[in-house]
Assembly symmetry: C2
Amino acid sequence: MESLFLLVLGNTEISTIPGISVAGATPELTKITPVADAEYLFHEKPLTIDAIPVTPEGHPTPAIITKAAKELADFPIIVIRGGTYLAPLVPHVHISDVVGRDFRKEIALPEFGEIIKRAKLFGEELNKLPIKELVIGESTPGGTTTAQAVLWALGYEARTSSASPNNPQELKERVIMEGFNRAGIEKGQLSEKPLEALRQFGDPMIATVVGLSLGFRKDIVLAGGTQMLAVSAILKALGEDMKRFMIATTRWVVNDRSATFVETAREIGIITYSADLDFSNSKFKGLRDYERGYVKEGVGAGGATWLAVKSGFSPEDVSEKVEELYERLMRMKSLT
Amino acid sequence: MESLFLLVLGNTEISTIPGISVAGATPELTKITPVADAEYLFHEKPLTIDAIPVTPEGHPTPAIITKAAKELADFPIIVIRGGTYLAPLVPHVHISDVVGRDFRKEIALPEFGEIIKRAKLFGEELNKLPIKELVIGESTPGGTTTAQAVLWALGYEARTSSASPNNPQELKERVIMEGFNRAGIEKGQLSEKPLEALRQFGDPMIATVVGLSLGFRKDIVLAGGTQMLAVSAILKALGEDMKRFMIATTRWVVNDRSATFVETAREIGIITYSADLDFSNSKFKGLRDYERGYVKEGVGAGGATWLAVKSGFSPEDVSEKVEELYERLMRMKSLT
C-alpha cells in the first residue's frame, strides 16, 4: 500500500455549546468522541467509555465506514492527537494536549505555532517514507463551526455542513459573529492573515493538518467534508499549490443543500472526490438515516472509501461491510 | 529509503541508584536523558533542558552519531515514548508514561502486557507500509542493569556493557541479586517464562521493542548494544525465528572486555553488525574518549551508522560529520 491514512483528533470547547454538535449523546460527551472513534478503529468497541459508538437514536459513528474500508483494503492507519481533552488508549502520535478555546470569549488557539511546527516535523519524516500519498481524516466535534469561522475570516461566503439533518446554521452564525465581535474583525478581514484566522477561531485539528501538509511534500488527500475546506483555504493563503491536494468526502456532504461544499471547493480551487456510498437498502434504520442527512461524514470516511476503491473494492463492498459491523455492534448492545 | 528508524525512549528507577548509570550528569538527571536525546535529533540542542547534551567531562551523547548518520543518509525517524518520566517536546508515538520500578523493592513493570499490546498494534500498522526493514534504537539510562537482570533470569551467563569505562559490574550484580531475592527466584529460573522475567526486572523500552517486533513481520535491526541482547532473548523465548533479526551496534561495545556481547549474541543465535567508527583522530578529547571506553553506544548509534553505510557513506563520513556536530555544540557552549 503506497498510501498512509492519518486520523487527526481534535477538540474545541465550541462543541459544548448546546445545539452546536450532535457528535456525542450530550454536549459534554462530545469531549470523548475523538478518542472513542480512534479506539473503535482498532478494537471491537471504544476503550475509554464502556459503550458502543452509536447514538441513542441508533446512528453509528462515521468511524464505522472508515473501519469497514480498513478491514477491506488493509491500509495502514496512524492516529494523531492534534489536541484533545483525553489521550486515546491506542498508540498515537502526540502533537499536543491543548483544545481549542471558546472563541466567543478568548483567542481560540494561542498554541497554533507550536502545533504547526511539530506536525510539520512529523510530516517531514513521513515524506521520507516510500509512500506516494497521505490521506488525512479527522474527528473534531464542533469542528464545522470553527471551520466556518475560519472561512468567513478568510473571506469565503461559506456554510459548513453538520452531522445533523437540521444544520444549526442560525446558531453557528450567531456564535461566529460573537467571536468576530470579541476579536474586533469583520468577514474577510483576515484574508491575507490565514494564521491569525487560525489563532483567533480555529482548532488544533486544523493546525495539525496544516502542519502535516507543509511537511509532507507529495500528494495529500484531505479526507473530510466542509472542515477540510478551512484547511485548504489556509494552505492556499499560505501559498501552497493546490494541485497536490484533493478533498475526499461523501455524497451526503456534497448533496447537503444547507452547506456550500461544492461552491466553496471551487472557489478555493481544490478538486474533490465524493464516495458514492448508499445506505438506503440497509436493514437498519440507524444506517438508512444517513440518507436522511444524519452523520454524513467524519473520521475520514470518504477518504477511507477512496482507498478501498483504489484497492479494487466497490462502494457497495464498503456498504456491505458497514452493515456487518453495525450488526456486530447491535449484538454487543443486546448483550449489555 | 526503504528503512524506517524508530527511537524508543524508556526510563527505569534503577538509573537513579548512585553509580549505576553515567547517562546523565547526576543520577537524578538521567530521568531527562531520553527526551533530551530525542529532541537533539531534531533540533540544534535539547528543548526540555537548556543545556548541550555533553557531560561535564566533554563526552557527547551517542545521539550525536545518530544525528550525524541522519544528516548524511536522511532516513526517516519516528520517536516512540515507550515509558518515560517526561514527554519529549518533539512529535512522538505515545505508548505509555510508566517507568520501570526499582526491582529490588517491587515488580518492575506490572504494565508490560498493555505496553506490548499497544506497541504490537503500532508495529502491525507499520508492517503495512512499503518498507522492508525497521531499525529500532533506544535511550534508556540504567537499561544495561535491567537487561542483565532479564538475561540472568532467562539463564544467560551474560554481562552487559556500560557507558562508563569502569563497568560497575559488582554494583550491578549486587542490585540484580537483591531483585532476585525480592522475587524469590534464581538465575535461569524464568528461562521458559520470558514475560515474567520482563515483568519482574524489565523496563518499558524492552517491552515496547518486543511489542513492535511482534507486530512488524519483516526484517528488524535491533540497534543497540547489550540491552538489545535482552530483547532478543525474550523474542527467542517467545518462539520468534531469529533469522529476521540482527543486532547492530558499535565496535566499542563489541570490544568491551567487561561485557559478553559477542558470546551472548552467539548463544542466542542472532547475527550482529558492528559499526566501524573510530574517533581516535578527533581533535576533541571528548570524542577521543570514546576510544577509551566512554559512552560506546546508545540512541541506535550503530544502527544509524548501518543505514548510512547502506546509503553509500563510509564510517569515516559519519565520524567526520560527528566532528562537525561536536564543534557546533562547543560553539554553542562558549556562547552561554
